[in-house]
């Protein structure tokens, strides 16, 4: 149940930093208003923020579902990993091989 707390802490910490340093970009030297790119309009910023939000709304829940599925599955028994001659399987292959039997799914 405490799993989301870490995420909340990280994001809250980031917010505190960003809000807390206003109105400075470089404390005491450069104000945020003076450091904005002149060519960048607010609609440009809105458009790019929208892009990030859209991508994260897709990626983040997918990652979350994936992690929850892994948790539900539980820890698989770790057998001796099959490494021949010091050369491990390429990661994608390794992921498709079940650790217990070492056989392909």
């Amino acid at each position: 149940m405490s799993a989301p707390i870490g995420f909340v802490a990280v994001i809250a910490g980031w917010c505190v930093t960003e809000v807390g340093r206003q109105p400075w970009t470089v404390y005491g030297l450069l104000r945020t208003a003076a450091s904005v790119s002149p060519s960048l309009t607010s609609s440009d910023v809105a458009l790019s923020l929208l892009g990030y939000v859209a991508v994260y709304l897709l990626i983040y829940p997918t990652g979350l579902i994936l992690m929850l599925r892994l948790i539900r599955k539980g820890v698989t028994q770790v057998a001796d990993s099959k490494i021949e001659a010091g050369r491990p399987e390429a990661p994608v292959l390794a992921g498709a091989v079940t650790p217990v039997t070492g056989e392909a799914r």
Binding site: S39, S48, R87, A90, A104
Partner: protein, 336 residues
């Protein structure tokens, strides 16, 4: 400090090396990503993805070094160039997110295999196109007043930058196909040969168009190449490009497995050299030189100390991972 040692050439070399290595290394794995979308079945897709899985993220290290090197060593250039290519860079980053997570999600999120297959291919293609647009925008130059970018966030978008975007898709496609010829065999390799021929034609046409268009667009570039004695001294560059193009074509039609990739690298090296010759010593083309855009000698010296420790470490661990995963990629283990 600056009387003793001018650090600008050193930083120019580091930046040029970082950008070049990025273009070559992430270039071929982005190209492999695009070709992945053309693979007919699951085993060949697995082989293609396996051929870059251990190394693709290491390749992107050079983008970080290039970007931060520009910010730290040439801040004026960073301040003008990055706002000017804001949207292509944004598009590239969003596309790289899709492409990066596709490696993880494709195999572990089995129900949505198809979506992440597409994310991998189109993410690679969009990121490549966006990088080509950045290149075109850089070559055509930016509107500048004083020390600021004076255009809008969409000034980058011209026929020329779209052309260079498409050109880079063929270019990375050629590098990627060369990599697949090197790393795979059988049906996947044969398909890579077919695609590499199409890509090579695209690359040669694009090099030709850009080589004619750029001097027409800029008086400075025209006089750099066509004034005497430069025209004689620099003639080997286009001649070598033609020779490398010819031998790459021959290698693609033969049985050579290393030459196609080497030829693609050769074409990229000569094109990169051509751009450097056209624009040197400008870092913000036609406005500011490397020396005008440089940070203070003390800043450059401070940063150089850390970088000189870091560079060999990156080079060693990158080479090591290539060495560990050397040889042909196999996918003989069956997949469902």
């Amino acid at each position: 400090m600056n009387e003793i040692l001018d650090l600008v050439p050193i930083w120019t070399l580091i930046l040029a090396l970082a950008v070049f290595l990025y273009v070559l290394l992430d270039g071929f794995d982005l190209g492999v990503g695009m070709l992945y979308g053309l693979a007919p079945d699951v085993p060949s897709r697995n082989t293609i993805m396996n051929s870059i899985a251990p190394i693709w993220d290491g390749n992107e290290t050079w983008l970080v070094l290039g970007g931060l090197g520009l910010l730290a060593a040439f801040p004026l250039a960073f301040a003008i160039i990055i706002p000017a290519v804001y949207f292509p860079i944004l598009l590239m980053l969003l596309a790289l997110i899709f492409r990066g997570v596709a490696f993880e999600f494709r195999f572990r999120d089995a129900e949505n295999k198809t979506f992440w297959d597409h994310a991998f291919c189109y993410g690679s293609a969009v990121a490549t196109f966006a990088q080509g647009v950045v290149l075109g925008a850089f070559i055509q130059g930016f509107p500048v007043t004083g020390r600021q970018f004076a255009g809008t966030s969409f000034s980058f978008l011209t026929l020329f930058s779209v052309l260079t975007g498409v050109a880079l898709v063929f270019g990375y496609g050629l590098l990627g196909a060369g990599w697949l010829i090197l790393k795979t065999d059988g049906e996947v390799q044969a398909a890579a040969r077919r695609y590499s021929r199409i890509c090579l034609i695209g690359v040669v046409v694009a090099i030709g168009i850009v080589s004619i268009w750029t001097p027409l667009m800029s008086q400075a570039v025209a006089s750099r190449w066509f004034s005497w004695p430069n025209i004689a001294l620099l003639a080997p560059v286009p001649l070598a490009t033609a020779v490398v193009g010819f031998f790459t074509w021959r290698a693609l039609n033969g049985r050579a497995e290393v030459t196609p990739f080497a030829g693609a690298i050769g074409l990229f090296t000569l094109s990169y050299l051509g751009i450097a010759i056209s624009l040197f010593p400008m870092i913000v083309p036609y406005h500011f030189t490397l020396w005008e855009a440089a940070s203070s000698p003390r800043t450059q010296a401070f940063l150089l100390i850390g970088t000189l420790f870091l560079l060999p470490i990156i080079l060693v661990y990158s080479s090591w991972s290539y060495w560990v995963f050397r040889g042909k990629v196999r996918a003989e283990i069956g997949y469902d």
